[in-house]
């Protein structure tokens, strides 16, 4: 009898614990489809290296950032990015620029240095200061980008620097809507960057 009572108590406790699971964690990523594309060096005029996007502080957090107050950022507990935001943004930027700049060999991430390739190339550096939603229903991507040019004779030098601030109303409620708006905004930013690089090209 006593043993039975103990077993029942244990079962009740376990049931209580299992019943307390309330909220499931959601993971998000950019939708951007990977289209078929390929490019050879001989078909391109220049090389652009997209450095890994630098995200400041809590923005480079798996929890999707929401600006809840004037100075307060909340990193979500249950709505997380599927991968590190800087890696995701870098990959998206590379793909967008690759598509938008047909005469360029756009590469990303780790520098792929060979004895020939490292002679002359452009570098794009992103510093993203805002990558979040806010309580007013906006998606906010702001920051700056810098373009560098490396030449064996002149060395590495800065070509141009641009600040950008894109506060875009989200299309739908919830984190789905925020992620979709952030992706669209990032895409537009990179399209603008592609144009600017084409113009700034030496």
């Amino acid at each position: 009898m006593k043993q039975l009572l103990l077993i029942v108590a244990a079962l009740v406790t376990l049931a209580g614990c299992s019943a307390s699971i309330q909220t499931a964690t959601q993971y998000y990523q950019f939708e951007q489809p990977i289209a078929y594309s390929s490019r050879n060096v001989k078909d391109t005029d220049a090389q652009l290296r997209v450095q890994t996007v630098a995200l400041r502080g809590a923005l480079n957090n798996l929890g999707i950032a929401m600006k809840v107050d004037r100075n307060q950022i909340h990193a979500a507990n249950y709505n997380l990015w599927g991968e590190s935001p800087d890696v995701m943004l870098t990959a998206t930027a590379q793909q967008t620029l690759f598509n938008a700049m047909p005469n360029w060999m756009v590469i990303k991430g780790l520098p792929v240095i060979t004895e020939v390739d490292q002679q002359t190339f452009y570098e794009l550096e992103y510093e993203v200061h805002h990558f979040n939603g806010d309580m007013q229903g906006n998606a906010d991507i702001s920051g700056l980008w810098r373009l560098y040019y490396t030449h064996p004779e002149t060395g590495r030098r800065l070509i141009s620097i641009h600040n950008f601030s894109n506060v875009v109303p989200i299309d739908d409620d919830g984190y789905d809507g925020l992620v979709a708006t952030l992706e669209k905004t990032w895409l537009n930013i990179n399209l603008d960057v592609a144009k600017a690089i084409e113009q700034a090209r030496l």
């Binding site: 999707i64 507990n77 309580m135 007013q136 906006n138 989200i170 409620d173 919830g174 925020l178």
Partner: protein
């Protein structure tokens, strides 16, 4: 009914006065006790009060505290400091008038390092009570610690030094390089122009000081340049730093009677001089030389056929005869020289030697014994007095000049000198310089023929081909350099495998990236644990996320 008044007589003094009376008695008793326990007060005059602190600096005898400095003030003349000290009443008998006080502080000298403990504790005054029965309360601070405590047993002797260097107090006395004592006092006797040293020899080594002991200054390094070669001897480190006095016995001499306390010895400049100056039993003689005595100096030896028998004392001798110097006598052109014949040099029993000398001298002179000057050193021109037998010499006898005996002389010295100079010149003549010049000329002609042969050799075709060999060697060298270059290129490649873009570098970057990803994966977990530490057991109850809403 009548009432009667009960009249009682009140005591004149109230009982309440007993309390202040008792208090007064107790106070007086305490005052008496204090006064009875207070020891004597002494005053110490010191040139300055460096390191002395009133209320702290202690006075010690053999490291036992006997008192303490309790006040310091400048003297009225302001040229010194007066320190007042309270001495424990049990030790008032120590305050003798011949007591000595000095400051104990860290000292480093040739005797070692002392007083290091005062580095931390501060200086203190060491009090060395004397032997006097008379007490006093005013003392003067000594500059240096007392050299020898009154309880140290030993013997005290006097050293008189006319020509030795001046030595400091505390300089060691060494017997066979072992320190047996030290100089206790050093005073300069200006009348005699001599240094007087009081030396202290520790017990039991005072027994080493015998009547035939000799004392000499032992410099740290002694260099003796003599006909036997160069002899360099060094002593101990302390001797090297501060010099020292050595005491010993002449070689192969047995110790004499033990010297009594206060015995006077002479201090010589060196062992060699000490040996010369140790003969106290001698007789003076005058020798009249009918020639120049140039080169004859006081201290020069007097020899008999190479055996030293005495020493020249004065050359010329300052002898006044009838109010005139003896060497400017009108009827005599001889120059007198004062010598002493030291009997100890003849035989170790000087008394026997003296008797032998004096009884035989007349017979020797009769047989032709004469004194003459002989060159001792051709370079310096020093001469010495030599006694020898000249059978053909004119007859002579011992004469008298003032209080001295005059020994007959013979002018053979200068002749010998001339002969020796002549010998030297003959040797120079015998050097056969002409032959040497001829040999040199032959050597030059040999060199000339060698040069001609060299010229021929260079003009030969084989020699001319030498540059070809050089070229071949140069080719080899070039090949070696090429191989070296290949090696360096290989090394470059090896190093390149570690540079950016290399496989190794790439793998390193990937690993770091993996590590970064891993840290990002566990980011929510760590954040959740931070907010809810029991999250492993209970379900996470983190705040709900704000919901984005479109405008």
């Amino acid at each position: 009914m009548t009432e009667t008044a009960n009249v009682t007589k009140q005591p004149k003094i109230s009982a309440i006065w007993i309390i202040p009376l008792v208090a007064l008695l107790v106070g007086l008793w305490m005052l008496y006790q204090y006064q009875a326990n207070v020891g004597p007060t002494i005053y110490i005059k010191m040139p300055h009060a460096e390191g002395i602190i009133a209320g702290k600096t202690e006075i010690k005898v053999r490291s036992v505290k006997i008192g303490q400095i309790d006040a310091i003030r400048l003297s009225d003349s302001q040229d010194s400091v007066i320190a007042r000290a309270q001495i424990d009443k049990n030790y008032d008998s120590l305050l003798t008038e011949d007591a000595k006080i000095w400051v104990v502080k860290p000292r480093i000298d040739e005797t070692g390092i002392s007083g290091m403990s005062t580095l931390l504790s501060g200086v203190y005054l060491e009090f060395a009570p004397g032997e006097s029965k008379k007490l006093k309360e005013r003392f003067a601070l000594q500059d240096e610690p007392a050299l020898i405590g009154k309880d140290v047993q030993g013997g005290r002797f006097q050293l008189l030094s006319y020509n030795a260097e001046v030595l400091e107090v505390s300089t060691g006395i060494f017997f066979k390089n072992y320190k047996i004592g030290q100089i206790e006092t050093a005073t300069f006797d200006w009348k005699n122009q001599a240094m007087k040293y009081g030396i202290f020899i520790n017990e039991p080594y005072q027994n080493l000081i015998t009547l035939n002991s000799i004392f000499w200054v032992n410099a740290g390094i002694e260099i003796d340049l003599s006909a036997d070669g160069i002899n360099i001897s060094t002593g101990s480190l302390s001797k090297l730093l501060k010099g020292g006095i050595s005491v010993g016995l002449p070689e192969q001499q047995a110790p004499g009677d033990i010297a009594q306390n206060g015995h006077n010895f002479s201090l010589s400049q060196s062992y060699k001089e000490a040996l010369e100056e140790r003969f106290y039993d001698f007789d003076y003689y005058i020798i009249d030389f009918e020639q120049s005595i140039r080169g004859l100096r006081p201290g020069a030896p007097v020899e008999y056929r190479g055996t030293r028998i005495g020493t020249v004392v004065e050359a010329p001798a300052n002898i006044i005869v009838n109010g005139k110097p003896a060497h400017f006598k009108n009827h005599n052109t001889a120059v007198p020289v004062l010598i002493k014949v030291e009997y100890g040099r003849l035989y170790h029993d000087s008394a026997a030697a003296k008797e032998f000398w004096q009884s035989s001298l007349t017979g020797w002179i009769k047989n032709g014994m004469r004194a003459s000057l002989k060159p001792g050193n051709l370079l310096t021109g020093a001469v010495y007095v030599d006694f020898d037998i000249y059978p053909d010499a004119p007859k002579a006898h011992l004469a008298k000049l003032a209080q001295y005996d005059v020994f007959p002389s013979i002018s053979s010295g200068i002749t010998v000198l001339a002969d020796q100079v002549s010998d030297v010149l003959n040797k120079v003549n015998d050097l056969k310089i002409e032959d040497s010049l001829a040999q040199m000329q032959a050597t030059f002609s040999d060199y000339q023929s060698l040069a001609n042969e060299m010229r021929e050799l260079l003009s030969q075709p084989d020699t001319q081909n030498l540059p070809g060999d050089f070229n071949r060697n140069f080719d080899k060298m070039t090949k070696s350099m090429e191989q070296f270059e290949v090696t360096m290129r290989q090394f470059d490649k090896t190093m390149a495998s570690y540079q950016a873009g290399s496989e190794f570098h790439h793998q390193l970057q990937q690993t770091l990236l993996e590590f970064k990803r891993l840290s990002e994966e566990i980011q929510p977990l760590t954040r959740g644990l931070n907010e809810q530490p029991n999250m492993f057991i209970f379900d996470k109850a983190l705040p709900a996320d704000p919901k984005p809403r479109k405008q």
